[in-house]
Amino acid sequence: MTDLESDDSLLLEFEDDDSESISNIDAPTDSKATHLDSDFANIPPHNVDTDDSEFDIDESQFSEDDLEDDYLVFPIKKTTKDLLDEDSLPSLKYECLTTQEIFDSMKRRVHHLQPVFSLPPQDILILMQRYDWNEERLLEEWTEKMDNLLIESGLNTSGESDGRGVKNGKEFFCPICCEEILTETFSLECGHEYCIDCYRHYIKDRLNHGKIITCMDCSLALKNEDIDQIMGGASSVKLMDSSIKSFIRKHSNSYKWCPYTDCKCIIHLKDTLSLQEYSRLHASRFVTCSMGHSFCFGCGFEIHAPADCRVTDQWVKKARLECENLNWVLSHTKECPRCSVNIEKNGGCNHMVCSSCRHEFCWICGGDWAPHGSSFYQCAIYKNEDKNKLVADTPKKTLRRYAFFYKMFTEHEVSAKLDWKLGETVGFKVKGLQEKIGVSWIEGQFLTESLKTLNEGRTALKWSFAVAYYSDPSHNLTKIFIDNQGLLSNAVESLSELLQIKSPEVIMKRRTEFYNKAGYVKNRTKALLECGRDLLRKGISKARE
């Protein structure tokens, strides 16, 4: 197995170790081990045995013919067809690969090209590397240049392979290290001969560069078999790995590394044409790698619907920019509007109670708490933003407005993280159901499914505040959107409560409640996402600096 570096993978802003717990639940088998060692036939069919509408496994993918003929075909073909997508959107065709799998498909291409070149596969592999694995360009230039192309690529055209290879030990003066010792040597047909130690050192330094390694003194190319012969092992695998990595770097619009730390998955988007349609509809291209990590193919960020990539980008930039000011607004002590005593803000709640006169007020608007009711969403200021003229009078007010949205955003982020922790216990609960009351694994999956639904709802809720922030508060659709936020928020809280239940017996007894509440969250999430996309599409919500 190759030693992949993840140095060029993006860092996910909101990712932390907790994310692992989710993927473990999604993939019941220890897919990590299998996946890393995956040779072609051995990729775990992710999510196949969960009752799952998210991915379609196309059986025809397994037929031999397809493997032979399709450019870069792998057994897992995924299409996103979950609630994050809309019927009008073309389904995203993508596959999750490793560098080894990409290289294997390149090898199959080499096999196909053999009749064209009538060269040994090793030589065609060199040509492919020289042309950055771009078969079309290679074939074009081949018809023009023929033998010149071989010479340019460092291939020997004399037809003789005399003198190529490792030679037995002898007294030898090596011009590189200038030592005269008893040693094995290596040379290509050019006759530039050096001691084996120098050659090993030379190759080792170059395995990670992803480029063809040549003779030390001329442009003749070392083939994979030469490299392995000199190194005394399968070192060329490393070179091919780095070569494929440089290929991925150069094709970043259709190949993306999974941004999760230490994940070695590469998502290959097969129909880059549908991307335009996606951005036209302000929908984002969310993909899931075979380790169960979901991210946006467009911006490499976490799933951020209903926000599109632009809103996400602006929102995140703003959060960074306002970071200092926000700390001030979010943590500043406040004077009680009635008795002017300084009150420290208590925890995450904006429901302030003066310690001196017991006056209850809202931290956001400073108004009486009474009309706010029990839910944060009821904040009169937020619901009737336009009427209360909070909007952008002074810089201070603008910042306070932003602080409100940012606060809601982070609050849901924190809740989502708590839900992930909840996820760990859900795994135990499923086990408990199995062991204590003999429920089958597949029957227990409604718990896992509910958790997944809960997470999707939370994420949608969280990012909906980015969309709402950029929305015109006086527009009717914005008000509908805010109502939708409230409804989803209540639905999510009630499902979250249900998931806290510990007793397996109670869980099984209230099983239909799980189905109903999860189903409701699903519908509410879908409604909020659609409404959010509408806001963006109609330009009511617009990302601005």
């Binding site: 011009p175 590189i176 290290c177 200038c178 030592e179 530039h192 120098c198 050192h201 030379y202 330094d205 030390m216 003194d217």
Partner: protein, 151 residues
């Protein structure tokens, strides 16, 4: 300090016994991997009559890794920046262990003879060079007199 590799000893000996015309390279007595180098400006170049001082260092991995070379004398050249760093392929991607100190210094001499403003390291110099070559050359001559005069 680890003993000096045979390769470096050989090269040093040859630089002394069979010097390249217009180039000198002497190892520092405390550190035999560190060389004081001078290169004479090539004839019929803006650097003619100038003597340029450089420093050259052989890293631990030499000859697998290229020598590190830098101009100490100020020079007005599109491929050499204010810190004296040189943009030269054999010092970077095209380095091969079969090359030597001698070949590197010859390449630098050749770079003085034919500046390449299309592959610049010093962008402002390159820009001026492309905009008004005559002016750039006279400036290079002026700097040569100013900073690289024979002592």
């Amino acid at each position: 300090m680890a003993s000096l590799p045979k390769r470096i000893i050989k090269e040093t000996e040859r630089l002394a016994s069979d010097p390249v015309p217009g180039i000198s390279a002497e190892p520092h007595e405390d550190n035999l991997r560190y060389f004081a180098v001078t290169i004479e400006g090539p004839e019929e170049s803006p650097y003619e009559n100038g003597v340029f001082e450089l420093e050259l260092y052989l890293p631990d991995d030499y000859p697998m890794e290229a020598p590190k070379v830098r101009f100490l004398t100020r020079i007005y050249h599109p491929n050499i920046d204010r810190l004296g760093r040189i943009c030269l392929d054999v010092l970077k991607n095209n380095w091969s262990p079969a090359l030597q100190i001698r070949t590197v210094l010859l390449s630098i001499q050749a770079l003085l003879a034919s500046p390449n403003p299309n592959d610049p390291l010093a962008n402002d110099v390159a820009e001026e060079w492309i905009k008004n070559e005559e002016l750039a050359i006279s400036k290079a001559k002026e700097w040569t007199k100013l900073y690289a005069g024979k002592r």
